[in-house]
């Protein structure tokens, strides 16, 4: 077993702050939506708006960080190894096959993650925060002599915001599950806390696994990458 420093400090701070904000926004947001009752409508709206503002500030810092550290390059989608990664999740993972791609500080995401995270950053999150800002400010000429936007109807804005919310919820479910697919069930989680990830040793670690997979005769695919 080897250890690799994969997640730098700000990256981890950003990730965890974001994750708590998103969870909190989901609870308050679905309360505003009418799906659940927890804080009471008034508090839910106040908390949701406050957390949304905090999220925007965090996003501003994160964008800055991504560009100054070149981290953004990690999210450029690639077709390379996509097939292998997909096959790993569909077959290899059950046979304890090795991960097809190795995680390093410079390559923290596997090819599927790159596609999903790029989609999240380029489409889903912008959809949510743009529709969210419109939701907050679409209406009214108000105090402070600020003339706000005057969009005639809330409905399309609210529906777009809801679409984003459901997309994020789906991501959350899959994301939480996939944290268990590292070297051990908790190695990914530990890495996101400490920055250090335990990785499979290569290549000799593969040998006993190959032996085990002999029993699943026709399921040879995972070794084939």
């Amino acid at each position: 077993m080897t250890r690799e420093y994969v997640y730098p400090a700000f990256g981890r701070f950003w990730h965890w702050t974001q994750s708590f904000l998103i969870l909190f926004l989901a609870v308050t947001g679905f309360e505003i939506h009418g799906s659940l009752r927890f804080f009471g409508y008034e508090q839910a709206v106040r908390f949701h708006n406050g957390a949304a503002m905090a999220f925007l500030v965090l996003i501003a810092f994160a964008v800055f960080w991504h560009f100054t550290t070149d981290e953004w390059r990690q999210y450029v989608p690639t077709w390379e190894n996509v097939r292998a990664q997909a096959e790993y999740y569909l077959f290899g993972i059950f046979q304890d096959a090795p991960h097809p791609t190795r995680k390093t500080k410079l390559r923290k995401l596997n090819p599927l993650q790159k596609i999903v995270y790029a989609g999240l950053k380029l489409f889903v999150l912008p959809l949510v925060w743009i529709s969210g800002l419109l939701y907050m400010f679409y209406r009214y000429p108000q105090k402070y002599e600020v003339l706000a936007l005057d969009v005639s109807a809330l409905q399309p804005i609210a529906l777009a915001h809801t679409v984003g919310a459901f997309a994020l919820l789906c991501f959350l479910v899959a994301h939480l599950y996939l944290t268990t697919t590292g070297h051990t069930l908790t190695s990914n989680l530990k890495a996101m806390v400490t920055g250090w990830e335990e990785l499979q040793d290569e290549p000799h670690a593969a040998a006993p696994r190959a032996a085990a997979s002999m029993q699943a005769a026709s399921d040879a695919a995972p070794g084939d990458h």
């Binding site: 939506h33 009418g34 905090a54 810092f61 009214y140 108000q142 109807a153 409905q155 679409v163 599950y177």
Partner: protein, 522 residues
């Protein structure tokens, strides 16, 4: 660790900068404080009318008091005679019907229906003397009743069914010597009792407001702002500000909350934003008829039952009339939650003689408004529903003659004969009556403006932003967060999330199963 701390500090600095940039503190006293100050000091009369020789009296008839008033306040009578308190009509543009002179004189309601034929009784509340029938002279200034509105001594009263004449035996000189700015009693004596009893019509204007608490009416409560009617309903040349949409049509001459409180009265902008589409009254009048019940339904069709040939009355458990032979069956309610509608400031009116479809409830004063109209806001209304007499052949509402001065004159309250009452009333208004009548469902909208609650008691967010059964459940044409959603989108979204969850469970289960098999194989 250091980096995290630095990032956190940076975050805090930026966040506080944003907050201070957005929230500038307003200097000076809060508007509500200055408003309280304005109304704390009550106006004192500038002269003592008791010292004027002109008012020494005695006055043989009330018209002589009017003459005395005019002898000093010369010209003021022309102002009164140009007002709706005198004319009981205004020139209004009624959408789709053109410019019409409408008012109590000629518009039907679904309480006592209309004044025609019953002036002797109804015109007790006319700001004049002697309007007993269609021959009243509206150009005679001596008939202006100054005292009804300006008596500050509390002794003036008008005679029941006296066509607006004072109660006989009053010392008119004493009354005249104590005149001044109109007080609650002056307005309330008529406006609290419209429709033939306390709080019958408005629901938010009743005799409890002669002296009340801020809990009932935050403006009028003597333990609160202790304001009188004319503090808001100010007058210029005897033209009062404000009107009721039971009789008026146009978006003008309204008393608004904003006139004193401004367009952005809350410290919280989220609440201010509501004011763009929600009237102040909607949240601040959570219920009406808080002290005494108001009439919600009036069924004229059951009127006329007699016991031993005599009319009678029955009471409900709360001491309200449940049945009166002269008027029919009533439903009363206390602490009523308003109904809500979009309202842009204009109303229409069903006018005398217009045909209608009796198979559906006829709305006598439809309030216009939709979400898309820039002016329109959601307002609270009292909806009064009734069954009232109409002509089945002409399909028009009937103006019956109700008050009966002498037996056999057709007045329903004396003769209990709908046919005779319809014939006499319709003759009075100059419209045909076919001779056959029935009773039709009608509705009237009464926008609520009084009985404003203290802010702690205003409507809470959840009462409207609720999926089911909220106050605004029936107000359509817009997306209300918490109430509205796309069922399709929510369905697909839920399906997607559950699908992901199912996928995860199946995948995880399979991993576990294979892991167990590997363990066993070793």
């Amino acid at each position: 660790m250091k980096k995290i701390l630095l990032a956190l500090i940076g975050l805090a600095v930026v966040a506080s900068l944003v907050v201070t940039a957005v929230r500038r503190s307003d200097a000076g006293p809060k508007p509500i404080e200055s408003l309280r100050q304005t109304y704390r000091d009550k106006a004192k009369p500038s002269v003592d009318h008791a010292l004027f020789a002109q008012l020494k009296g005695p006055f043989a008839k009330p018209q002589l008091v009017t003459a005395a008033c005019i002898s000093c306040h010369n010209g003021r009578h022309t102002e009164v005679m140009a007002s709706s308190h005198w004319n009981w009509e205004r020139i209004e543009y009624v959408e789709g019907k053109g410019i019409r002179a409408i008012g109590k004189k000629n518009v039907l309601n679904n309480f006592c229906i209309g004044v025609a034929g019953s002036q002797q009784s109804c015109d007790k509340c006319h700001a004049g003397y002697g309007w007993a029938d269609g021959t009243f002279d509206f150009t005679n200034p001596m008939n202006v009743d100054c005292l009804a509105c300006h008596d500050n001594g509390g002794t003036y009263a008008k005679k029941t069914a006296g066509a607006g004449m004072p109660e006989p035996g009053l010392d008119l000189a004493l009354v005249a010597q104590k005149v001044g700015r109109p007080q609650r009693a002056n307005c309330g004596n008529c406006h609290f009792f419209g429709g033939g009893g306390n709080n019958v019509k408005h629901g938010d204007l009743e005799m409890a407001q002669f002296e009340t608490t801020r809990d009932v009416d935050v403006h009028m409560g003597t333990d609160g702002a202790d304001m009188s009617c004319v503090d808001c309903h100010t007058a210029e040349k005897h033209q009062m500000l404000g009107k009721a949409y039971s009789l008026s049509s146009m978006n003008r001459n309204r008393v608004t909350c904003e006139r004193c409180h401004g367009a952005v009265p809350h410290e919280d902008d989220l609440l201010n934003q509501h004011g763009y589409k929600v009237a102040c009254q909607t949240c601040h009048i959570p219920e009406y008829a808080k002290v005494n019940a108001t009439k919600m339904r009036w069924d004229w069709s059951t009127a006329g039952k007699l016991k031993d040939g005599q009319p009678y009355e029955e009471e409900d458990g709360q001491g309200n009339h449940a049945y009166m032979s002269i008027k029919g069956t009533f439903t009363w309610e206390k602490n009523v939650k308003p109904e809500y509608v979009w309202f842009g400031g204009t109303a229409s009116h069903h006018l005398l003689g217009e045909p209608f479809d009796p198979s559906r409830p006829l709305v006598l004063n439809p309030l216009h408004g939709e979400y898309d109209e820039p002016e329109a806001k959601i307002v609270p209304v009292k909806v009064h529903r009734a069954k009232q007499i109409y002509d089945t052949k002409n399909r028009t509402l009937i103006q019956p003659k109700l008050y009966s001065a002498t037996p056999g004159d057709g007045g329903y309250w004396g003769d209990f004969d709908w046919n005779a009452a319809a014939a006499a009333g319709m003759k009075e208004v100059g419209l045909p009556y076919s001779g056959s009548y029935a009773f039709a469902e009608t509705e009237m909208n009464w926008p609520l403006n009084h009985m404003v609650a203290p802010k702690e008691k205003s409507v809470s967010c959840e009462e409207c932003h609720a999926r089911e059964g909220g106050r605004l459940a029936s107000v359509k044409g817009f997306y209300l967060p918490g109430r509205d959603r796309s069922k399709l989108l929510d369905g697909l979204g839920t399906l997607l999330v559950l699908g992901t969850l199912a996928g995860v469970v199946v995948h995880g289960g399979a991993r576990y199963w294979f892991w167990r098999r590997r363990q066993g194989g070793k």
